[in-house]
Structures are given as structure tokens and as C-alpha cells.
């Protein structure tokens, strides 16, 4: 039977979505959900769904989509199986920005509360720019340079972050919570804030599928095949980083989704980026939604930061897929 990747992906996403809406301190069955959607549901449940679970579900889905889509993009750009959206420093930059913002006492107002996500977002983008210009050699951006500059700058930012966290001991708990990743404290405002960036970033990645394929031949070959390599790389890098920075701003650092989901999809459906990028986007949303559900039920009523679940569950799952995949020499 011919596998239908898009159909199964959307189906999985639908299941994940419903699960995320149904599960919580009180289980709301799909039948009840359908009633609530039509406006006929129980009052308390309607409130919980629309004001708590739906914004959280949408935010988690968006975050997973952005992380996974840009993960696939980074893997395509760097032609490296270890590439993930945090490779060139987005995570550490965002972390540094967030921790710096946390050491200041902001007024309790709309902008005061937006200060931390905004700092994280801006710091992430600044990091990417710095790494980009550090790696630039004349008119080209050699991939190796990008990786090295990214790793070096990441370490620098991470140690600064640790230092700042140790200095302001009152904010350590808050900083740690943010760094471990958690999509709970946001709501519709957060979604509206990051939606444009994620749409633009992922959109650009989606329409460049075939250019990713060309890049797989190597910079020189791609250039000879007619691709403006430097310009393409720059645009794709900015797009992927934009989406990642937006995802990280409110949800903190959630690892593994950007690394593992594209790999799994590549093992199942092959490495054609015209298909891989959209599938990664959908798959990432599902994966993070499932992880978030697990994070909510494992130690109920206590919630575990979702970043812990993605690493704990993602690693064995990935290893299992790796062992059972048929096309072993895919990379």
C-alpha cells in the first residue's frame, strides 16, 4: 500500500489536538468537545476549553511546528545530521536575553510582562546576526564557519547566562523554569505576538523546498546548477531563525523536537525537502502536542516542563525508529 504521508500526518495532528484539548485536570471527552464547539456545552468546561486549553494547545502546536520546520531547514542548510534549530546560538542567545530581562524588576503592566519574551526574541536574532557575520568569508558563508562560530558563541552566551543566574539567586527558579521549556503561561496574546513571525519564517521555508534539495549537492555544485548559494542560504537562515526565535520567546528552550522529528520523517518518507519541510512542520506540531499531554498527566496534578519530556521520550523513540527503518543509508 502506498504510504500517504500528508494524510497520515494530518490525521495524527488531529488526534494530538483532540487529546490536548481533552486531557487535563478533568477529562473532557470528544463528544463533549463537539458540544462545546457548537456552544452547547457545560459552562465550566466551555470556559476551560476556550480560555485555558485551546490557547495552550495552539501555542504548543505552533511551537512544535516552528521548531521542527526550522530543524529540517537547518539540517538541509548544513547538510549535517546533528543540526538542530539551536545550532547557531538561537537558544543560548534567547536564554541570555531572557535571564538579563529577568534580573530587572519590570512594572506589572502589559509591556512589563512582554519584556522577557521580547528580550529573548531580540537576543536570539542578534545572536544569529553576530554568528552570521563572524562566519562570513568575503562573499560566501562557509557552512563549517557557521557551525564553529555558532558553537563558540553558544558556549559564551550559555556561560554568561549561568553566571547571571548565580548572581541573582532570587530569579534562578524563574530562569530555570524558562530554560527548561514550558508553554503554559501565555494565552492568546502570546499566540498573536508570535504568529506573524512563524508564518513568515515557515512560509519562506515551505516555498524553497527544491532549493534545499539543490543545496544537498554541495555549495559548488548547487552554484553550478544555477542557484545563488549565498543569497539562498542567507534568506533560509533568516527564515528558520525567525521561526525558532518566535517559538522560543514564550515557550523557552524545548530540545529534541527540532532534531529528531525531521530525522524520523526522513527515515519514513525520504529526504526530498519539498515534502520533508511541510511534513516536519505538521509532525513537529503533533510531537510537541503529545509531549505536552504526557507532561501534564505523568505526575498530575504536578506539571513537568515539556522540555524534559521531549528529551526523555524523544531519545528512545528515535533510537527505535532508527533500528527499524528500512532505508538505512538515507543520509
Amino acid at each position: 500500500m502506498k504510504p500517504k504521508p500528508y494524510l497520515s500526518s494530518f490525521f495524527l495532528l488531529l488526534i494530538a489536538f483532540i487529546l490536548s484539548l481533552a486531557i487535563g485536570s478533568v477529562f473532557i471527552s470528544p463528544v463533549e468537545l463537539w458540544k462545546i464547539l457548537r456552544g452547547l456545552g457545560n459552562e465550566t468546561f466551555t470556559f476551560i476549553i476556550w480560555q485555558i486549553r485551546l490557547p495552550r494547545t495552539v501555542l504548543v502546536a505552533l511551537t512544535g511546528a516552528a521548531l521542527s520546520g526550522s530543524g529540517a531547514a537547518y539540517q538541509g542548510l548544513f547538510r549535517n545530521p546533528l543540526a538542530d534549530p539551536f545550532l547557531i546560538g538561537v537558544a543560548s542567545g534567547a536564554g541570555l536575553g531572557a535571564v538579563i530581562a529577568m534580573s530587572i524588576q519590570w512594572p506589572y503592566s502589559f509591556w512589563g510582562l512582554m519584556a522577557i519574551p521580547m528580550s529573548a526574541f531580540i537576543a536570539a536574532l542578534i545572536t544569529v546576526f553576530i554568528v552570521y557575520f563572524l562566519a562570513r568569508v568575503g562573499q560566501t558563508i562557509p557552512t563549517t564557519n557557521l557551525i564553529l562560530a555558532g558553537v563558540a558563541f553558544s558556549s559564551f552566551a550559555t556561560s554568561l547566562t549561568s553566571f547571571l543566574m548565580l548572581r541573582s539567586t532570587s530569579e534562578v527558579r524563574r530562569a530555570l523554569g524558562w530554560l527548561l521549556g514550558g508553554a503554559s503561561q501565555a494565552g492568546w496574546t502570546a499566540i498573536l505576538a508570535i504568529l506573524p513571525y512563524i508564518i513568515i519564517g515557515l512560509g519562506i521555508l515551505l516555498i524553497n523546498g527544491h532549493r534545499f534539495n539543490l543545496l544537498q549537492f554541495g555549495d559548488d555544485q548547487a552554484q553550478q546548477l544555477g542557484l545563488n548559494v549565498t543569497r539562498t542560504k542567507t534568506i533560509l537562515l533568516i527564515a528558520a531563525s525567525l521561526a525558532t526565535a518566535a517559538a522560543v520567546a514564550f515557550s523557552g528552550i524545548i530540545g529534541f523536537i527540532g532534531l529528531v522529528v525531521p530525522h524520523i520523517l526522513r527515515l519514513w518518507f525520504g529526504g526530498d525537502y519539498r515534502r520533508l519541510i511541510p511534513l516536519s512542520i505538521i509532525g513537529g506540531a503533533s510531537a510537541l502536542l503529545f509531549s505536552d499531554v504526557v507532561a501534564r498527566i505523568v505526575l498530575a496534578p504536578q506539571e513537568i516542563p515539556v522540555g524534559i519530556i521531549t528529551s526523555l521520550v524523544g531519545a528512545p523513540f528515535f533510537l527505535w525508529v532508527l533500528r527499524t527503518a528500512k532505508n538505512q543509508g538515507y543520509w
Binding site: 459552562e43 466551555t46 512589563g112 510582562l113 512560509g203 506539571e303
Partner: protein
């Protein structure tokens, strides 16, 4: 080509909806939430009860309570202790994971709190008419609860014992109780300690150990913490006061040079015993170790900013000056 155009059009449409000015989804909860809380009409009469009283919390936010709250959720252990101390224990319906005093709070439902994540759904499901947040809770959590129509009062941490009495009075006012007796008795107990300490000239060096997982770099209380304040008030000199940080990590060298004559184990609740301290490498030269003056203490009496700080003061005074405090 067609596919690209289709995708681009779709994206444009989505982007336009995304960039639309934020219509007010956050205002929608208000009507639903007030309907929910209206079914919980407060029933009891209590001394300081007034209808529709407005309070300003420690973040400058104004909250209004219609009568005494009957369904209070506490987000921090110190808040729970204060609530029960002022007599509002029956009005509490939920508490955070770490609240463990008094004994009866363990029977109340927990709404999370470890890992810094609180189960907002559980809080809302309890239908609280007042949630009291402490400094340990983030402003984001307060905002999120506020957006969901929950009344939140942010209670800042006191920095002195007098401020702590003030917090007791605030919570008493919020919940409709009178704490003048409690505050008087607390003040009397503190005054009793002060009285006995004042004539003493000896102020022994004390090392208060918060954590010594790495025995060569233990953590202690520095200036600005209640630990430091209470040690001084109980007639001791806090070794950690030489630092500028609130929770400094001192090196073993600094402790050896300070040569405390008493070591207080705040980490005794994690299983650290005085005997284990005697066996630590490099600690043998310290006066307290040589004379075996190492005492366990319940750190919750020192670290939780509530009425039990007075218990902590008395416990420290007994340890530091056993001849004066029987």
C-alpha cells in the same frame, strides 16, 4: 508554479489574520468568570467583614472582594502557614505542592508548584474567590490567573519581623479575622528573647549550613535574609554575613578562618547529621567540630517568611545560648 502561488496566497491570508489588531480575547473571560463566582455566595460573618472592600497588593494592583473569601488558594508554603495562623484555615481549599504545615494542609488538594509549574486548570477548577501569590510566584502566573478572571492578591515577602506582623495583619484583613492577639504574643516572645540576649557580651560565631552537597563549598545565609537576621537577633554572629550575596557559597577556607564555635544544620531535613559533619575532610580544625557543637534545626522555621520565624528565633537562641534559654 501553481502550487507556489497557492501556498503564497494562503500564507498571505494567514499573515493578514495574524497581524490583525489583537481583538480582546482576554476580556471574554470576565462575564463567564463572574458567573462562576456568583454561585459561591460567601456565607459567614466575621469581625472585619465589609462588602466590596478594595485592597492594594504589593504589586500595586487593586483587587475587590465582596465579603470574606471562602475559597482561598495558596501558592506558597509561607502563605499557607500565615493563612492558618490568622485563623483562615477553614477558608483554604487548595495549596501548592510544598505546603506542609500545619499537618491538616496535607489533606488539601495540591495545585502544583514543583519545577516552578503550577496547574492553572486545577486552580481554576477549585473555583477560588481569592488566590494569594507570594514572591516565589512569577508575575506571569499572576497575569495568567488574572486573565482567567481569578482574583489574585500578591503578598510580598517581609524583610524584618515587624514587616512580617504587617503581613499577618494584611492577610487577616483580607480573610476577615483579627490577629491583634497573635501579633501581641509574637511580639512578647521576641521581646523575651531580646531581653535575655541584650546583657550578654558573647556573640559566638555561627555557621548556618543550608546545603553542603559539596563539603568544600557549602551554602549559607548572607545579609538580607531572615537567616542572617535571626542569627544576629538570637545573639550570634553569622559567618555568612561577610559576603554580599543573599545565599553565598563559602569556600571551606573562609569557614576555617572564621572558625565558628557553633554549626547549625539547616539541611538536617535532607538527612545531614552532626556525625557526618565530624567526618568531613578538612573540617577537623573548626572549633565547632572539635567541641562537637553541631545542631540540627528545621530550616522551614528560618526560611519561610511567616509567624514561625519566631519559633525559629527561639530555636536559634536555645542553640546559641543554652545557659540562658532553658
Amino acid at each position: 508554479m501553481i502550487r507556489k502561488t497557492l501556498i503564497l496566497t494562503l500564507l498571505l491570508a494567514l499573515a493578514i489574520t495574524g497581524c490583525a489588531p489583537a481583538s480582546t480575547p482576554t476580556e471574554a473571560p470576565a462575564p463567564v468568570a463572574t458567573e462562576i463566582s456568583a454561585t459561591e455566595a460567601p456565607a459567614t460573618e466575621a469581625p472585619a467583614a465589609t462588602d466590596g472592600s478594595t485592597f492594594t497588593d504589593d504589586m500595586g494592583r487593586e483587587i475587590t472582594l465582596a465579603g470574606n473569601p471562602e475559597r482561598i488558594v495558596s501558592l506558597a508554603p509561607s502563605t499557607t502557614e500565615i493563612l492558618f495562623a490568622v485563623g483562615a484555615g477553614d477558608q483554604v481549599v487548595g495549596r501548592d505542592e510544598f505546603s506542609d504545615y500545619p499537618e491538616e494542609v496535607k489533606a488539601l488538594p495540591s495545585i502544583g508548584g514543583s519545577f516552578g509549574e503550577y496547574n492553572v486548570e486545577a486552580i481554576v477548577a477549585l473555583n477560588p474567590d481569592l488566590v494569594i501569590a507570594a514572591e516565589i510566584n512569577t508575575p506571569e502566573l499572576v497575569k495568567q490567573l488574572e486573565d482567567l478572571g481569578v482574583t489574585v492578591y500578591y503578598l510580598g515577602n517581609p524583610t524584618t519581623l515587624e514587616e512580617m506582623y504587617g503581613k499577618l495583619e494584611t492577610v487577616a484583613e483580607l480573610t476577615g479575622h483579627d490577629v491583634s492577639e497573635l501579633v501581641s504574643s509574637l511580639q512578647a516572645r521576641v521581646a523575651a528573647v531580646d531581653e535575655k540576649i541584650m546583657p550578654l557580651s558573647a556573640r559566638p560565631n555561627v555557621f548556618y549550613e543550608i546545603d553542603a552537597s559539596d563539603p568544600s563549598k557549602p551554602y549559607t545565609y548572607g545579609p538580607g535574609t531572615f537567616g542572617d537576621l535571626l542569627i544576629t537577633r538570637a545573639g550570634g554572629t553569622n559567618v555568612g554575613s561577610v559576603s554580599t550575596d543573599a545565599y553565598p557559597q563559602l569556600s571551606l577556607e573562609q569557614i576555617v578562618i572564621a572558625n565558628p564555635s557553633i554549626i547549625v544544620l539547616g539541611d538536617s531535613m535532607w538527612g545531614v547529621t552532626p556525625e557526618s559533619v565530624l567526618e568531613r575532610a578538612g573540617w577537623e580544625s573548626i572549633e565547632a567540630v572539635k567541641s562537637k557543637q553541631i545542631f540540627p534545626i528545621d530550616d522551614n522555621l528560618i526560611s519561610r517568611p511567616g509567624p514561625r520565624l519566631v519559633d525559629g528565633l527561639e530555636a536559634l537562641a536555645k542553640i546559641l545560648h543554652p545557659d540562658v534559654f532553658k
